[in-house]
Amino acid sequence: MNMSSRAERSVVEGPRDGTSPVIPRDPSTALGMTTRLDGELLEVSMGPQHPSTHGVFRMNVALDGETVVKLKPVFGYLHRNHEKIGENTSYLGSMPYTDRLDYFCSLTNNWAYALSVEKLAGIEVPERAEYLRIILAELTRLQNHASLLGFLLSDMGAWGTPLMYAFREREKILDLFESLAGSRMMCDYMRFGGCRVDAGPDWIGRAKKVLDAFPRFLDEFEKLLVSNEIVIARTQHIGKLTADLAISAGITGPMLRASGVNYDLRKVDGYGFYPRFKFRVPLGDHGDTYDRLMMRVLEMRESIEILKQAFEQIPAGPVMNPKVKLRSFRPPVGEAYGRIEGPKGELGFYLISDGSSNPYRYRVRPPSFINLTILEDLCLGHTVADVMVILGSVDIVMGEVDR
């Protein structure tokens, strides 16, 4: 791609002929320019092909020595206009395509979409299906957070080993998904008014076994993290996010709660049967990378609690509302916005129906896209190496960012 024609080429203003630009340094603005002797800022295009950018994500960074003075995220390399495709497909036809948004958490994507359509058409969900949804969503949260921590440690230079530890656990959960839905990552499991197939008693038993083994992994992993000198040096006081900025910028999920804002949609909206479950919402104090990292560990512990209760309480019964006609599905005219607490934040779907078999408007509210809004604010004043760690702690998946 010819970079010179792109607008964000001009990240650094100022003469490039070696003469020193006479720009006074103003500490209040990020672009107060430099006090370096040669008067040059270095402009680096990080990504899109970079192992630490978690996919095809690019950052145009202006550097003063090692310090970041400006950062502009560039994305769209994976853009396939998911929303347009959704408008040209039937309501049911979009369900498997939601798997491809955040391909780590296909089941929570399914749930958010199903929930929005159920709101749009006023569909009730059987009790067993609601429990299955909660079980699958919490399993998804476990495997997403575990692999995120692995990736983050990988970004910090602990190459391979912690990631493989996390993936070993994730593998067990993916096996569960595979035996239930037929696919490890692209599950396509939920339907408007329930779930596609029922889970047998055998599956529940196996899921319990996986869950029983999980705390041991978590204890071990936390021990590696919490007291590790390198992790502490690389993450504490790095990339601080204040609560005010987080609220204003629409940050959601573990990243928001790491800044100390108590806002968990499982508690606030109480969708599904979450009000029936006892669990706590962990909060951070500092809002730095370390807090964001530990937030995932603490959330995993709460997810384990929810899962234990769900396995005890899950009733027998049908998993699909028999009144819903999936094939010729035509919701009444109207619009609805439904949202759930996904592992990465608030995942919402906004649908407008004109009474036909396709949605008139199909919009995804992608949490990782909106969480990137403040990436520049987090990275300013830190070094290049920190940018990778901060980006890792935001937890993005490009399939969802670019759509």
Binding site: E8, P331, P332, G334, A336, T373
Partner: protein, 221 residues
């Protein structure tokens, strides 16, 4: 939380001159919205954010909607004098509604844990008049999402600090989420930033048959 009517009266009292109407939502979701005039929208948004009873500090979702021009034909029975006799005659009336683009904001309160309040703004038309005031100065979270609307729908947001394309490349010419968007016939000629390809694309666009003309072409063949 207060009902939408109460919010409407309070906003109208607080922001003099604001023209607000309630858009009903007939579906079971029961999420009606407030349509706000473009001139006062930033003031209204600021009021909704700062009002102690509402505190709608979380702008969750920002999105665009395209509504095309539409003509509604109605059959009306009219009494008329036909050959000296009064008869009931059926007449068809055509009513024309001009199209517009819309931006929708879903506001929630993190402080008071309530919501949503949905506000919308409408552009004058789908061409030159597709301009709206930006709410990014009020809600930082609208930053990328308004850029996305600009990119995919072509609504220009006045007052946005950094309005550029975000998902498509800068040289892209059309707005792909519009309902009348037509894909290029041949993706080989889709403009990429390379100069020679851009040159090719220019020729391609000039010879591109329009939506209606294309049907005629196939009929002739």
């Amino acid at each position: 939380m207060e009902s939408l009517e109460e919010i409407k009266t309070r906003v109208e009292a607080a922001v003099p001159g604001a023209d607000i109407s309630i858009i009903p939502n007939p579906g079971p979701a029961n999420q009606p919205s407030l349509l706000i005039d473009n001139e006062h929208a930033p003031h209204v948004a600021r009021f909704l954010r700062d009002d102690p009873a509402l505190r709608l500090d979380h702008c969750s979702n920002v999105t665009g909607v395209d509504w095309l021009d539409r003509t509604v034909t109605k059959k009306v029975k009219v009494k008329k004098l036909v050959e000296g006799e009064e008869k009931e005659v059926e007449e068809t009336h055509e009513e024309f509604f001009p199209g517009y683009l819309e931006s929708v904001y879903h506001l929630y309160s993190m402080a008071l844990k309530q919501g949503p309040v949905i506000i919308r703004m409408r552009t004058a038309d789908r061409g030159e008049g597709a301009r709206l005031p930006s709410l990014t100065p009020v809600y930082r979270s609208a930053d990328f999402q308004e850029r996305e609307i600009f990119d995919l729908y072509g609504i220009r947001f006045d007052g946005h600090p950094d309005l550029r394309r975000i998902l498509m490349w800068d040289e892209f010419e059309d707005y792909p989420m519009r309902k009348d968007y037509r894909e290029p016939d041949d993706y080989e000629y889709e403009p990429t930033p390379h100069d020679d390809v851009l040159e090719k694309a220019k020729q391609h666009y000039s010879t591109r048959p329009q939506l209606d003309g294309a049907e005629e072409l196939t009929a002739q063949e």
